[in-house]
Amino acid sequence: MRRFDRRAASLALVLVGAAWHVSAQERYGIGRYWPYAPTLFDYIRRAMPLNAPQSLSDTDVYAVSAYVLHLNGLLPADATLDAKTLSALKMPNRGMFVGDPRPDVKNPACTKDC
């Protein structure tokens, strides 16, 4: 049980991207990292809950999405979410995504006296 609780606690930290200690994992928190809000709806709808994916109604998926976005400080507690309000939500980190610049690292391929 302790092991499960620790996992639940760490999941909660990931969900809200807690600010008091930013570990590598927490940097990827939804409010901190995710570029688009509808991704949350899509992921919950097709893969959550982990033990019973695709078991929630669309209304439930909106409700869970709204709750998680609220935990991330992106929606008030009494907000109502639908397709229109969800896709209108601007995620804080959206402007930080860039294309693939690789090859970005150059090894000079030295063969002697390196």
């Binding site: 996992r7 990827y28 688009y36 097709r46 982990l50 693939d100 610049p101 690292v105 390196c114």
Partner: protein, 423 residues
């Protein structure tokens, strides 16, 4: 160009041959002296006749699906000890125990995001819809009626390994999330043409029939170039762990784009920005920017023997061997350093050298018994050279989990013990 003390490969090979002959005369090098052994198990050793020659062996058909010898039971996939959640964890190929370039199906690395589904092929369909002239649904029989092709390609997980410690002890711990197989199936291009692409078709969104409904967007150019719908692996039907009954093979692209258990292909004008191409599988840089759609796995190599966790039996001849690969095409050369990266010598590449496949390299080495650091460096046909970990981190920082293709050194101690030199 070849200085006498620069040890070009030809010189090294000649030196090995001389060394082996001299060693054979002096103290017995690669074989044992011809004399009777004593002790446990010696009853089966020369000059005696071993027990398995004195009675008939198992009959034909005692294993209708053959298994490895019971004496190879330790050569298995490797699961991290602290995997928090096994349904979305990974298992690694035991690279240090494998030869050649083809990974046996039972040892192919695994990475699942929602467990391994048990799919009845009679109840599996591939849906092709979106920006097509004619949406289609295929049975597995339909898929196998298309003209087939077989190609050898590696598949590698995007995060193999991460940039931060602790680094793995063995080659498998470190970079065991790569494997290579001969895939048989149909070119995705042929199937897409059957449905007819609309002019604004720019992406194909693939969805797996697993509990994660793994979803990735693939550029249409790649779908029309060399992407495959594969139903067989190394001559037999895909294993459930590898996507039975149908998966995508997207040569050279990061592992999870090779969507397993594929059930749906939606042709779109834009990528879908699924969780696995936004929250995951994007590369967070030190400055807070994040690279998205970083598809290609860049050139990489690893010495698999001798490697971490192994032990050299003693000074003398030891072949250095390993694997190299590149998502950008063929491996052009592999260099070996025996002196902590101060100098490098070209290894021999074993044929066949295939596009976006593992390539086996070999290098003859006479170990003098003193501590050494050995490492390999791959160059691909685009001219790209595998970087060091320091070079990668200097540009990318350590935040990202993905696309670490660093050179990896092994430290050999005076007693022959081998460990990860980066730890």
């Amino acid at each position: 160009m070849a200085e006498p003390d620069n040890h070009p490969p030809v010189t090294s090979r000649r030196r090995f041959l001389r060394g082996a002959v001299a060693g054979g005369i002096a103290a017995g090098s690669l074989g044992g002296e011809a004399r009777a052994e004593t002790g446990k198990g010696a009853d089966n050793l020369p000059p005696n006749v071993p027990e398995w020659m004195k009675t008939p062996g198992d009959p034909i058909g005692s294993q209708l699906y053959g298994m490895p010898s019971e004496h190879e039971k330790n050569v298995v996939r490797n699961i991290p000890k602290n995997a928090a959640q096994l349904i979305s964890a990974a298992s690694r190929s035991p690279l240090q125990d494998l030869d050649g370039i083809i990974t046996p199906n039972g040892l192919f690395y695994e990475r699942h995001h929602g467990g391994i589904p048990n799919i009845d092929p009679a109840q599996h369909r591939l849906i092709l819809h979106g920006l097509v002239d004619k949406p289609l649904i295929f049975t597995m029989e339909d898929i196998r009626r298309f003209p087939s092709q077989s190609r050898i390609h590696f598949i590698e997980c995007s995060g193999n390994p991460t940039y931060t410690k602790p680094y793995g002890k063995t080659a498998s711990d470190l970079v065991g999330l790569v494997s290579c197989a001969e895939w048989t199936g149909v070119a995705l291009k042929v199937v897409l043409q059957e449905a007819g692409l609309k002019p604004d078709a720019k992406w194909v969104v693939a969805e797996g029939a697993d509990a994660a409904a793994m979803t990735r967007s693939i550029p249409i150019e790649k779908c029309l170039e060399d992407t495959m719908l594969a139903y067989s692996q190394n001559g037999e039907r895909l294993r459930p762990q590898q996507g039975y009954p149908l998966r995508l093979v997207v040569p050279g692209y990061e592992g999870n784009m090779n969507v397993k258990w594929v059930r749906r292909l939606k042709v779109t004008a834009e990528p879908v920005y699924s969780r696995e191409e936004t929250s995951k599988y994007t590369d967070l840089m030190a400055d807070g920017s994040a690279r998205e759609f970083t598809f290609y796995m860049e050139a990489k190599s690893i010495i698999t023997r001798p490697s971490g966790g192994q032990r050299l039996s003693g000074p003398g001849f030891h072949e250095i061997t390993g694997i190299a690969w590149s998502g950008h095409g063929k491996i052009k050369r592999v260099d070996i350093s025996l002196d902590q990266g101060k100098s490098w010598q070209e290894a021999q590449l074993q044929e066949p050298i295939l596009t976006r496949a593992l390539t086996r390299f070999r290098f003859p080495w006479h170990w003098d018994g003193s501590p050494a650091v050995i490492q390999s460096r791959a160059t691909d046909e685009s001219g790209y050279v595998q970087p060091t970990l320091a070079e990668l981190i200097a540009v990318r920082g350590e935040n990202s989990f993905y696309h670490n293709n660093a050179i990896w050194p092994w430290r050999i101690a005076g007693n022959g013990e081998i460990s990860n030199a980066q730890v």
